[in-house]
Amino acid sequence: MAHVGDTQAGNIPLAEVPDVELYHPKSWITKYVFSQDAKVIAIQYSCTAIAIGLVGLVLSWLMRLQLGFPDTFSFIEASDYYQYVTMHGMIMVIYLLTALFLGGFGNYLIPLMVGARDMVFPYVNMLSYWVYLIAVIVLTASFFVPGGPTGAGWTLYPPQAILSGTPGQEWGIILMLVSLILFIIGFTMGGLNYVVTVLQARARGMTLMRLPLTIWGIFVATILALLAFPALFVACVMMLLDRVLGTSFFMPDIVEIGEQLAYTGGSPILFQHLFWFFGHPEVYIVALPAFGIVSDLISVHARKSIFGYRMMVWAIIAIGGLSFIVWAHHMYVSGMNPYFGFFFATTTLIIAVPTALKLYNWVLTLWKGNIHFTIPMLFCIAFIVTFLNGGITGLFLGNVAVDVPLSDTMFVVAHFHMVMGVAPIFVVFGAIYHWFPLMSGRMLNEGMGKFHFWVTFVGAYLIYFPMHYLGFVGVPRRYYEVGETSFIPDSAADLNAFITVMVLIVGFAQVVFIFNIIRSLIKGKLAERNPWNATTLEWQTAEFPPGHGNFGDLPVVYRWAYEFSLPGVKDDFIPQNLAPNLINMADDDDSVDEQVAE
């Protein structure tokens, strides 16, 4: 700590560059509707994503009603069920999680945390949201067209997706593909902003290794998305042409219900390769921001610097890189050359090593910490548990031979819900409880928060943990009803009913959460400026909540984001932009500070 109190360090001049040309809104419309301010765009993104996410949630209830109590709800027919499955999956993965983590948290946090006034291309950033909104509207429209939305499964595998045996073959699939194409265009606009802002608009002194892990997670996830979405884009364009113009990119010779179709010579597996070349990085597009955010939340609420920051950064980069060479582990039983299995099983299990290290480091951050059991912290711990669980089942499914009996069963459903459904959503919750005061100036109600946490955590575990065992029994996924079989015991139906009841209870807790947000916006307790005593720049803005332009003078960054409980310092945190000569050193009498937990 040679430089603490060093006056020279305190005399570093402020940023000498001319301030960025900041777009100043002139009317209510340009301030709140067609806004170019990343914070407003973030909130627009978040609200849209959560709104469509609620649709996805309701769809999951309908699905579970059918699975838990087959033959009870006559309004759910097989075609409806497959439409729910499809739309639930697509909405949750793309339109909720991707949009919320990158468009929502990315937009809000990147400029604030790197110490910039706004994104580098604000106009493009605004366009990004509006194209996303159109994509969501097109997607929603498919519920109202003749034939309804597509029921092809969120993977949209051809030839099935565009043939008449699948619900929504007339309009649903077309709207789905158009919506995805729009989403990708919109995302690319936003994604360029996120990456370039992190690269170019960092405040003075904000070196790469001083970035909070939230930014690292979002940054690498965005790079993955920019490089992975083109695969989905080209796959969607090809399938659209197959459906509309009758080309045969993915369509071989087909005899449908005794009738020879005009398609010839295409390759269905090509689609699967393209889809999963996007689809596996997509898992990390959702997971990496969650990794980053959870690292920051744990560190802040345990009052301890994140354990092994460098390893955490390297692991994010390594996972991001490896995620491009593991895609075919989704295709072990797809009929591709079986020898690929050796390669993809190996790469997949290698990716487990950096992922496991991240997990150890979160737990080791708690170790010797001073843990505040705030709601964000509770959700972080829930994340660790569910992510560990889902990561472990990933070791089953990534290991090619083990995948063979388990693929396409409820085990897979349980696995990916645990690892990329429940776990990232817990981080979203934690992040909302953590940053809500910053966004609104008010705290969320703690009582309702605790209720929300306990019901969601325990409920989600009780939903998905036993579901793995249904998969072991051999219950296949995407089944409207399993009916009579020789291998599924009757008790499995009881378990299904139990899971459905839990789903409805957990669903109710989400309603409480939404209510909490709305109520707290209006009459929540006013927040202090930095209620969690965090070190990062977003809490150091000129106004609170941060206003247009974020900062007064652009901040100068003197240290990394994890200066917690530094020995010899009075406070247990030092903000990143606090000049060294302003640090409040401990008096010698204050011996408690030295008494580090053993």
């Binding site: 597996i269 460098r310 009929g335 009996p405 575990y461 065992y469 072991f472 029994v473 937990a597």
Partner: protein, 286 residues
């Protein structure tokens, strides 16, 4: 505090559930015991990691819960510890991967004496084709499919005429004989899934996929489709009967070949024609 207790309950509860719950895999009926073994190994390794990590976390949450008079330790990293953890994880991963890849190596190596049979999937039913006396399946193409030729067998291929066709009926397999299952779909993706066999594979229109197995247990097992194939996906069922060779031979005798089918179709059609002509004659007579 409460959370620490909940985590302990959760860790122990999960282990108890694992051992006591009635939901476990159905008894295996094929040679893929090595897959089951790999799953058991994976369970042990990952189960230990899971329990240890959660219990350690519960300990941390209890031990280092917030106290006013305490301060967290300042320890940005500990390279030695991280290297140890990396090493241990790598060892664990290798221990999982090795039996898995060995099992996979068996899976992709079809024994020379395996009999080829063909499974044909379409929305939403299973059909099967067995080689006839020549022991060879005739070549096929989806373009040849019509009412007379539901399997699309190539008419120019002499090997095809003695193929035994089983449309929408049970498949029988002899006990303890390796079988190479060739998979073919004519419309969309399907997946031939018999839980007791452990093995499964997609049927892809436009190509022939395969896997192999040796049935080791007599019985009648469900065939399910495990790849979403449209609105009737869940109704796409079939049965496979594994039986002693003698019983299998007996069953095989009763099945008809492609040539038989062509003949009976032709006969039926001719019969119809003759009947029509007779009607016409009577009409004229009237």
């Amino acid at each position: 505090m409460v959370l620490a207790i909940v985590l302990v309950i959760l860790a122990i509860g999960s282990v108890v559930f694992h051992f006591l719950s009635p939901w476990w895999w159905t008894e295996i009926a094929s040679n893929w015991g090595s897959i089951d073994d790999t799953i058991i190994i994976t369970f042990w390794i990952t189960g230990v990691v899971y329990t240890v990590v959660i219990l350690f976390m519960a300990y941390c949450l209890y031990k280092y819960r917030y106290r006013k008079d305490r301060r967290a330790a300042y320890e940005p990293e500990n390279t030695k510890l991280e290297l140890w953890l990396t090493g241990l994880t790598t060892v664990g991963v290798v221990a999982l991967l090795t039996p898995g890849l060995l099992a996979w190596n068996d899976f992709v190596t079809v024994p020379d004496d395996a009999t080829e049979i063909e499974v044909l999937g379409q929305q939403w039913a299973w059909s099967f084709r067995l080689p006839g006396e020549d022991g060879v399946l005739g070549t096929t193409s989806a373009k040849n499919i019509n009412d007379d030729n539901p399997f699309g067998i190539n008419m120019d291929d002499p090997n095809g005429y003695d193929d035994i066709l089983i449309e929408y009926d049970d498949l029988h397999l002899p006990l303890d004989r390796p079988v190479k299952v060739l998979l073919r779909a004519i419309d969309v993706l399907h997946d031939f899934y018999v839980p007791q066999f452990r093995a499964k594979m997609d049927l892809v229109p436009g190509m022939v996929t395969f896997f192999w197995l040796t049935p080791i247990r007599e019985g009648t097992f469900d065939i399910l489709c495990a790849e979403l194939c449209g609105i009737g996906h869940h109704t796409m069922r079939g049965l496979v009967v594994v039986e002693e060779l003698s019983a299998y031979q007996e069953w095989l005798q009763e099945q008809s070949t492609f040539a038989d089918m062509l003949a009976s179709n032709a006969e039926r059609r001719m019969g119809k024609k003759i009947q029509l002509t007779k009607n016409q004659i009577t009409d004229v007579a009237r």
